[in-house]
Amino acid sequence: MNRLVDFVSRGLDSAERDAVLGDLAESGESGARELAGVLGLVVRRQAELWKDWRPWVLLMLLILPLGLLLSVASQITARGSATYSWLYLNNWDWSLLQYREFWYELRDSLVVLSVRWVSLACWSWTAGFVLGSVSRRLLAANGVLICLTLLLCGLFAAPEYLAYVFPDPGPPDASDPVGALMFYGYVFPLIVRIILVAAPCIWAMRQGSGMGKLPPLVRAVILTTAIVALVAMVMRQPGIGWVLKTYRYPEFWQSWEIRALQNVVYWPAAYLIGGLIVRRWRSIHV
């Protein structure tokens, strides 16, 4: 319970958090009362912030569009991955291991899946990073709101509605029969949404909230990269790409500029590795 109280209290400013936790330690309250007290204060503090107009602009211009786009990306990834999962998990046969062709096929499938999963996780991470860097005080509320958006888009099948808005979405989905299965139709997309979207997004929001400590130039470079990565996501996933009907022009995707743009999507890996190296260097030299 103490850990939970400590976690919830992170929604408060550090000075207030210290005072509140100190008061609770001094009064020796039970864990449940302690949790209710801290949670109540966090909710009040967050509610106060929403009296201003800025959080509403953030909600309309960033949280809802990003939540919708990530939902679409997650649904497409889940559908695409469902076929492979069904193929290997539901139809597994140990005797297949003796065939060389199976290993080739497995390798190719793993490459395809890894690229899709890593791309989705990177998009989600980038979206979370941008959200976290925009407002540190709204971190908790924005985290809850983006998760709610993802959940609601999943429940009300936002990607399907989007298909009506932007018709002609390309080749028919080959994984439909698999998607008709209860697990692959409902549970699998939810797992993908939690592991590859919500978790990286929340993680990155915390990372993004620490941007203020960085020098202005580094901050500008990082934010520009993050925004470029989001533009790449918007182009790749239904959205601007659909509006411009870029799927009709395969040569568009072959140009080096667009291919370079697509690689920017993986910037979170460079950011995290860079951060690790800097921390390691500082621990040795400072």
Partner: protein, 109 residues
Amino acid sequence: MLGEFEYLLLTAAARLGEEAYGAAIRGEIETATKKACSIGALYTTLDRLETKGFVKTWMGDPTPQRGGRPKRLVRVTAKGAEAASAFYKAVTHVSRGVSWETSRAAVPS
């Protein structure tokens, strides 16, 4: 005009004097009202009073009884004392001639 809870908080802080801080004020209010006082209500009201200029708060030194965490100390300002006094006068004035103990006993249930 102060709210009821604001008045309770100001009065508790004034009574505690130098020892007025979150947990102590909360204890005073709970003893007086015989009701639980949520830490959320306490701290948001404290902020409101500070914004109005009725109290001044600052962080004290960390103490071992509080797990090494500092106290948020509170002092009632002259403006706060004036507001509390005005509230008290208003309550006393409006209560003149009314005895709740007697009235409650007199009203048939």
